[in-house]
């Protein structure tokens, strides 16, 4: 993973609440054993006609979406299935952040592990961003946990401090966990385990 640096981008708004991971990437594409090539399947059923032609009025198919790195979505983004394919598809399409008022727990955790920043903003800021002109550019700075709007308004957003450190350093959790193997071994020595899946 690369360190998560400050960036600025325009917004792609999808004004719907409760966008579930079955919409972000439908289940029929989960038969893959790879993480690659999922960008084409992002929002597939909202994005393409049955014959595979792009739906011209869906925002990701419009010139406005070209090169944009921030998705602006309604409340409770990413609910439903635990599929990590959802943040994989979003980042492969080019998104580095999603702005909403709230995120589903599993999606939020998955996103943070894939350098996709879930940015939680208050309802008034959320509404302001949805009402903003198409060319509105937002600055995102993870280190200070702020987004900056074109009028200079700075909005702070919450991020788990550990996830933030991992993102800023460009490292994942597993390296940290593996450094705790001594503590894990101590725990295992006194643990009252009642299952052995290998037992005949």
């Amino acid at each position: 993973m690369k360190p998560f640096l400050p960036f600025e981008s325009r917004l792609v708004p999808i004004p719907a609440n409760d966008i579930d991971t079955d919409q972000i990437i439908p289940a029929r594409f989960l038969k893959t054993t790879s993480k690659e090539g999922l960008d084409k399947q992002l929002f597939c059923d909202w994005r393409y006609e049955d014959n595979g032609d792009p739906k011209p009025d869906f925002i990701l198919n419009t010139p406005r979406a070209k090169g944009v790195e921030i998705l602006l979505a309604g409340d409770n983004f990413g609910c439903g299935s635990s599929r990590e394919h959802a943040p994989w598809a979003l980042t492969q399409f080019g998104f580095r952040a999603v702005i909403s008022t709230s995120f589903a727990d599993i999606f939020k955790g998955n996103a943070l592990k894939n350098s996709l920043l879930p940015i939680i903003v208050p309802a008034d800021v959320h509404a302001k961003l949805f009402a903003a002109p198409d060319d509105t550019t937002i600055q995102v700075d993870l280190a200070t946990q702020t987004i900056t709007l074109p009028d200079g308004q700075k909005v702070e957003f919450p991020v788990d401090e550990f996830s933030k450190a991992c993102l800023l350093d460009g490292v994942d959790e597993l390296g940290w966990i593996l450094k705790k193997q001594a503590a894990i071994a101590v725990f295992e020595a006194s643990r009252l385990g009642t299952v052995n899946t290998l037992a005949e």
């Binding site: 289940a27 989960l30 054993t33 439903g80 299935s81 727990d105 599993i106 998955n110 705790k180």
Partner: protein, 470 residues
Amino acid sequence: MSGHLRTLSQKVWDWHLVHEEAGAPALIYIDLHLVHEVTSPQAFQGLRDRSLKVRRPDLTVATVDHSIPTSDRSLPIMDPIAAAQVNKLEQNCKDFGIPCYGVHSSHQGIVHVIGPELGLTQPGMTVVCGDSHTATHGAFGALAFGIGTSEVENVLASQCLLQRPSKTFKVQVNGTLRAGVSAKDIILKLISNIGIGGGTGTILEYTGPAISILNMEERMTVCNMSIEGGARAGMIAPDDTTFQYLAGRQFAPKGADWDAAVARWRQLPSDPGAAFDREIVIDGDTLDPMITWGTNPGMGVSINGAIPDPSTVSDPMERESLTKALAYMGLEGGKPILGHPIDVVFIGSCTNSRISDLRIAASLLKGRKVSPNVRVMVVPGSMEVKRQAIAEGLPDIFRAAGADWREPGCSMCIAMNGDQLRPGEYSVSTSNRNFEGRQGKGGRTFLASPQTAVASALSGVVTDVRTLLG
């Protein structure tokens, strides 16, 4: 942590705390890791890329459920991508020394059905799986939750996860359910009350007389859909019902180990007076059969209720979501859902595919015929459920009624395996999600109990099962 009153989930958390330090989430030990074909291949690849082993194959078990066909198992899997994924899991398990109940195993089944039936799921455990319906195992008083593939890799490598504690949310269900009302209706009612995001950041604990009286399979139905209210997990305190279910199962402790385990498990229920961050009360006495009308599981009403009318909603984004859901579903706000024609009935999924679900379905179908306009699929949750159903003669009842009896798997709940709705079709499904396209692109799902599903299969329209009961 002793000295103050703790809830069930806090006790399980405390039992599994490996390491805590400032600036990081707690490191929590995982007792049981369930693995399936869809969310694991990239995790195994991650282990290979770092030259890591699976730390505790003896606390890990795999099966195939999502991608596999529910047709004749003696035939090869026709979808080459699904076949490759199934083969990949079996190879990964072989390479990393993990037991795998593959396509031809007598223990194969939906991961959340086989864990409990094999006695792998036990009270006080931490259970994870790369699947959001892992909350099912909370029915045993386990802290069980779904994880993504990165976390699957973390658990394979370390048997641990980094976690922040969740808030606690008590769901008190009072009274006694009336005839025709089931565990599924309790959970659909809860989700319709709190909304699909209402439980975000919390662990639900279901309690009260209407919960205590449920059998283990009914408790699993309730806990299973905790995620549909946004909750991380859903739990029920273990009691004699739990212990009776577990006793004698293949992986349950035996002899003196069993007695010691039960003594320990009896410490798990929330301390009287323990504080919860949130509480809600549901009245079981007045609960009606529930059904969803929309495109998320929170969009539900009593079976006799009306579909909401967007013109009565003030919040613009909420109104837009409602309008969009009704357009997708081809429904009109303000109208009743009762009597709406359907094309398919699906009885199955990790929510409602256990033997008690099939017994209820068979009892209502016996001596009757499903509507000629409706395709009815009955998909057992596991090979064990299938064997038991055959021993009781249930498949004959299903077939005689005109229903299709299939092989075990997730099937039309997630529609990855060819079992799916055609565009525009309506189903009454005993599964857990009604998202757009969930049961097939363009398909429209009404979620309900097995009782409601069968009653609707018989009439060909959404039906209140109570009209069938004497």
